[in-house]
Amino acid sequence: MIIIGEKISVIAKKVREAMNARDPKPIQELAAAQWKAGAHFIDVNIGPAEENGEDLMKWMVESIQQVVQAPLCLDTTNAAALEAGLQVHNNEWGRPLINSTSNEPDRFVMLEMAAKHNAQCIALTLGKGSLPADAEERCGIAAEIMARAAEYGVPMEDLFLDPLILQVCTMQDQAIHAIKAVKMFQELNDPPMKTVVGLSNVSNGVPKEMRSLIDRVYLTLLMYEGLSAAIMNPLDKDLMDVLKTTDIFLGNTLYAHSYLEM
């Protein structure tokens, strides 16, 4: 399982303040902690960043890669900011991941960026209209995005299909649709398409003390269906323990008594 650490987000007050003040320390600490905890990518969510977005993303990428030898997942709707980040990204530790394209026309540019900068790309199976109703509808959108990716010259193995995880507390029936979509996405190509989720969306809106439990159980179900990657909190030890244990059951890692410590 590929772990994409979610903690560096403009939504978090501490991160937002550090971004505004261009204070690298809190951001570097969060990046290093997530990397040490097992994150393979560090998500860098600067939001729409309408003002000085390019400057901000460039500064974020450089600050984080000073302390972390890992590729980054660049998370913004601002294409110019994204490109500025891709230009300074150090590919020595892996190719960057773009978060994200979708079936909305204003997100097509992300595929152009992926092709131009040899980056991988997350594709959210979301169209112009309402939310996808079920797994089949998600697959239909995925197929459209895959065709477009091919037009832009993005190889299928560089695409991570995201079924769009919704809140269990308000849209309970969507939880199982997303799980089924993860299974069905893989069948859209040979070799199977890669899949990714924004895990903690599932527990948005539920009481705080229940969030980790809900994330944990949901992750196990998704992994059983072959999920390739998750944007999640690697600093949640209970969540990481469940992930490692599920990897043991699925035969992805070799058992040893100390497997939780690895």
């Binding site: 992805n252 890692t253 070799l254 058992y255 040893a256 008594h257 100390s258 410590e261 690895m262």
Partner: protein, 313 residues
């Protein structure tokens, strides 16, 4: 339509280390493919064979292999020099067998002196083995590690019951270390984790999943080694990426096929050829399963296996 060879590519890679000193040092490991699949990846270092000698006369070895060393085996220094100078050994494995309580129960100090004498007499890299007695090895190997300080040896075997003191000694005197478990891949992984958690680098470890002779459980050893390699390469499991050791000779030269005289079993053919072939075939199977360093006894078997390695790499 032309045939395209299907190729696997792996995310993981086997670690490599060198042992010995200066221009006689040898490197083992480093491949990023299953053994000898040169069309899929690189295997930068050939598997190495260490000639096994011991610190007391090989009374319990069968005649075929005893005969090969009859003029030198009374003295470990003469034996080591013979392996290096006459047989062109690339490495030597000195087993401190006399320290075993059921053998001569010689002291750790005696063992340390033997190690020093052998190191002074030869230039080739040395593997230093205890007598495989859990308690005794934890004192003998500590003394041996100190005596060999600065020679960049491989010492072992560290096992679940004694690894702490042996790891500490290897760490203090900068040696490579054999981590041995008994035909259990999960325990092999666990031991490697425990050893690295003591601050010992995984880049200085070699895994011994326990050997066995053809006809006596070889398939278990083969399977464990193969699964270790697949975990290292396909799952990119860092705890399973150290090179692998095959301690072949001691398992082969005690079974009835290498001991039974022609008079008793004429249908088995000539005793000498039979024993040599048995060791060579067992060792070759270990190579195919992923072994990077072999410990062997008979010069003719070693010559055969070295020729095979030369043809495969």
């Amino acid at each position: 339509m032309s045939y395209v060879i299907p190729k696997e590519s792996y995310t993981g890679k086997v670690l490599s280390f060198d042992f010995g000193k200066d221009d006689r040092a040898v490197t083992v490991g480093g491949e990023n493919t299953l053994p000898f699949l040169s069309f899929e990846g690189q295997q930068p270092n050939k598997p190495v064979i260490a000639y096994e000698i011991q610190d007391c006369p090989p009374d319990d070895w069968p005649d075929t292999v005893k005969e090969a060393y009859k003029d030198v085996s009374g003295d470990p220094v003469a034996w080591a020099k013979h392996c290096q100078d006459v047989l062109n050994a690339k490495a030597i494995a000195l087993r401190l067998l006399s320290t075993h309580p059921d053998r001569d129960d010689r002291s750790a100090e005696d063992a340390a002196k033997t190690v020093k004498d052998v190191l002074a007499a030869v230039d080739v890299p040395l593997v230093i083995l205890g007598s495989n007695h859990i308690e005794k090895d934890s004192t003998v190997l500590v003394a041996a590690a100190e005596a060999a300080s600065g020679y960049n040896c491989i010492i072992g075997k560290a096992q679940e019951g004694n690894y702490k003191t042996i790891v500490a000694a290897a760490l203090a005197h900068n040696h490579k270390l054999i981590a041995m478990s008994e035909l259990d891949i999960n325990l092999a992984k666990q031991l490697n984790i425990l050893i690295t958690q003591m601050g010992f680098s995984k880049e200085k470890l070699i895994t011994d999943p326990m050997c066995s002779a053809l006809g006596y459980g070889l398939e278990y050893t083969y399977s464990v080694m193969e699964r270790i390699r697949l975990a290292a390469l396909a799952q990119n499991d860092p705890t399973m990426q150290p090179p692998i050791l095959g301690d072949v000779g001691m398992y082969v030269w005690k079974i009835k096929e290498t001991v039974a005289p022609e008079a008793d079993v004429p249908e088995w053919g000539a005793l000498r050829e039979r024993g040599i072939a048995w060791e060579a075939i067992t060792a070759t199977a270990m190579l195919l399963a992923g072994t990077n360093l072999l410990i062997m006894r008979h010069p003719a078997a070693i010559e055969t296996v070295e020729k095979t390695i030369g043809e495969l790499v």
